[in-house]
Structures are given as structure tokens and as C-alpha cells.
Symmetry: D2
Subunit: 145 residues, 4 copies
């Protein structure tokens, strides 16, 4: 089986286990080794006190792309430190896309950049996530084959 | 009317307008000038791929405390830059509390520290939010009096 | 005069005014709009308590690339928020290069990524700087022409 | 020997080994377990392109307080991730003080807050450093006794 197929299976397993991203409508768009793209439509239920999209929902979208990318090689990895810069508000009805790319990976430490854009390709937020590999595989060998 | 009462009214207005924090069960515990405390019970719907609480839900709790604290003086303020350090996982059934304190405020720039703890008073995450005051009041003068 | 020439003049003016980067041997390698590359040889005077290069010296190198890049369009800009990830130690005798690229620029806010590598092209540190344009030009119009 | 004396010896050993902080005039003011205070006078040699104190010099002061604090228990620790918020410029002739306090410590991970103020007790910068303990002691047992 190709590596490409493995990262798909890993992403599938993560989405089967997790509930939070799914519950707010986050869907996978693309996946590769050290890379992930997800999307989300901003619904009325995501409104913040300024009637724009809540920062927590935008963060969750970016964080989901980060989690898929840093686990894509099948080594269980957790986000340790994340930061986000909100540069433009997002509005109800917008569709946001978050793309995670691997900026650095060595030993157990990974650094990922996630860009969040809207349907007009405008930048909404920039996110950086630092991951740490822990023990174990996302998919056990018997599941892989 | 005392300042204390104003910050309560501001928080009330924010919770009336917003939907996201409420939708995942976030409730206000305490509020003061430059200070806010909120809580959330971790439900099965917040599970991540490791079966612990999704980082996005923890971030949303901390971010809500941050938003209440930086708007508490009734000057509309938005979060610009946030970072979070996850130091201990949180589990389904845990109750998390996020307390926001004002670390720096001058001109339009505010810096807030938010500590997230569980029911055993263990630290789960440390969050720092940088806010920027924009034009307008959360509650108009006529609403205040 | 081309834009290219302007960013060179801006960099020259910054190096004429400043003392700190020069005093530790930082030199400009390349400059363009929103881009800068600088280098520094690690000397014994930069040793930290572990006998490797002091984080403050590596930060100063990256910060200098950031300052040149965010001022390159001749609008005076100051660094507001910076973060650095140290991923590999640097040693006495190493030559470090820091390259700054513009990740985001809109209105008065800029976000720059700076990569610090050694002579073996190994990544030593990743730096992100957020700048804010303030009033004034680095080089007055009469100086430009 | 008391713990207090050990952290002093550790700081002394760090200052004997290191050159960079000393070379720009950084001096220790106070030390305790998980705590350190250092100071520095801003000299003409620290000027940046705006004729105020270079961000690299302010960072180096804060980073030195961070290093002393995270090594104070005699377990060799390195700074992994640091961020700094510059809120007010510092000028030639000012004396800056940086105080590091331990915000979180568990296993090999420490989080430290460093506040940089000037001689008027105005906040100049806020720094956060994340450390990681590595193998070894700063002072070997025979040196301690």
C-alpha cells in the first residue's frame, strides 16, 4: 500500500474517533504526508458577540487541519503549543478552508503552518502548531494491511 | 450604576448576541473589570482523535473568558493574536474553568492571561490573548442607564 | 529610481543609524521588497551557559532580517510581537543566515517568517515577527531622489 | 547547603561560562528557585534603526532571566520556544530590569513569564519562555558540597 493511502486511512480513523470537528461541520478536502486541507461553512450557531464568526470555531478548523497533518505519517502526535493571528473577520455564510503544511519535522518535534482563507481567497487567519510525537500508531499494522 | 454592574451588563449582552460558546455549554461564573471566569463540562461531543477533549473546545473556553475580560470596560475589543499551551489532557466528564486576568492595558492594546484548570485544580492549558480596541461601545449609553 | 534601489537605500540607512546588529557582526546579504537576508559568524563572545550560541544572539540575527524586511517599502515599521522556536543548537565558528519573507501585509499590520540556518543548511531556528507601520518614512523624499 | 545557596551557585556557574549577556552589561540582581532578576543599562551600542533600544538587546535581557530561572534547580534546561511583546520603546540611558517567574513546571516542561520594566517602573516588554530539561546538572555534586 502506498504512503498516500496510509495517510488517508489515518485521517479516516481520526474522523471516526473524534466528534467535535464533525459536530461543527468540518470536512476533509485533501490529505497527504505532512499536509491536510479541511473546510467548514460558517453557520449562525458559530456567531460571536460581534455577530461575526467566533474565534474558537476558526481555531478549531485550523487545529483540525494541524492534527490531520501531524498524524499523517501514522505516528500519534499531539498539539502542544498553538498560536493564531486573526487578520480579517469571517461572516455567517462564508466557507473557510484551512491548509496545513509541514514547516519543520525532526525527532519528535513538528512545526506546522496553517492558512485559513475564505471563498474569495482572502486570508482570515494564520495558525502555527507545534506537535510532539507520543507512543503508538494511529492505525495498528494489522489494520493497515 | 457601579462599574461592576456595567461589566455584568456587557457580559450579558455578549452572551445574548453570541451563539458558539453557549452552544457548547460555556457558562459565566464571575466577571469584573479586566477579569472573567467561565466554565464548561466536557461532553462526548467534544472528543478528539485521541478520545480526549478536542483542543478547539479548550481554546474556545479560554477565548470566551478572554473576550469577556477584554470587553469588560464596555469598549468593543477584538482578539488579534492568541496562543495556547496544552500541558495536560482533559477528559469526557471533566469540568474545566477558564480564568482571564488583565496583564497589560495601554491605549488600544490589551494582553490577557487565561488559565484553564480541571475540577482537581490541575492546570490543563495556559492561553495568552492580545486584544485591540476598535470603535464603539458594547452597550450604548441609553442601554446602560 | 526603481523600487529595488529604494529598499537598498532603506537598508543602508538602517545600518547607518543602528549599532547593535553591527556590533555583533551582522551583515546584509540580500534585500528586496518584503524580503531580507542577513548573516553572522558565531564568535566566542556569543557563548551561553551551555557553551553554544546564546539565544539572544540568534534572536538578534533573525530580528534584524525582520526589521529590514518590514521597513523595506520605506514606511517606518516596528516589531510588536515576535516568537522564536529553537530547534538545533548553533556552535562557535558556525555561520548563520537569516532569511525574512513577508507572509501577510494589509493596512498597518505585517507578518514575517524568518528562517535561520547554518553553513550546512540545517535549520537552527524559526522566527515569526508581527510589525506595525507607524508614521513617517525611513528615507525622506529628498534623500531618495 | 540550602536550596537558596544552590541556585546562587548555579547562576554563578552560568555567568562564568557564558559571554554574551556579560558582554552587553547584563548583571544579576536576584535569584531564587524558579525566579531570577537581571538588569542592564541601555548603551549607545544597543541602538536600533529608530535610535531606540534594539529589540535583540531587550530580548537578550529577558532571555537571560529566563535561563537563570529555568536552570535554578540545577537541572540543565534549554529554552525551546520564546515569544516577546514590545509595548513601549526603551531609550539610551534607561536601565531595564527583567524578572522571571515560574508559571508552570511539570516533568521536563517549564513555562516562565518575564516582565521587562524601566527605571520608572513602566512595562517595556512581556516575554514568555518554554523550557525543556535535558540530561545533566549545571553543577556536579562534588562542586555543590
Amino acid at each position: 500500500m502506498s504512503e498516500k493511502k496510509l495517510c488517508y486511512k489515518v485521517a479516516q480513523k481520526i474522523f471516526e474517533t473524534e466528534n467535535f470537528a464533525s459536530s461543527i461541520g468540518i470536512e476533509m478536502v485533501d490529505i497527504d504526508d505532512g499536509f491536510a486541507k479541511v473546510k467548514m461553512e460558517i453557520k449562525d450557531s458559530m456567531k460571536n458577540g460581534n455577530s461575526t464568526c467566533h474565534g474558537g470555531a476558526i481555531f478549531t478548523l485550523a487545529d483540525t487541519a494541524f492534527a490531520l497533518a501531524c498524524n499523517s505519517r501514522n505516528i500519534v502526535s499531539v498539539g502542544q503549543f498553538c498560536d493564531i493571528s486573526y487578520v480579517k473577520p469571517a461572516f455567517i455564510g462564508d466557507t473557510l478552508v484551512a491548509s496545513a503544511t509541514e514547516k519543520y519535522l525532526s525527532g519528535r518535534t513538528g512545526i506546522y503552518d496553517i492558512l485559513v482563507t475564505n471563498q474569495k481567497f482572502e486570508t482570515i487567519a494564520l495558525f502555527q502548531g507545534k506537535s510532539r510525537a507520543i507512543k503508538g500508531l494511529v492505525i495498528e499494522e494489522k489494520e493497515v494491511s
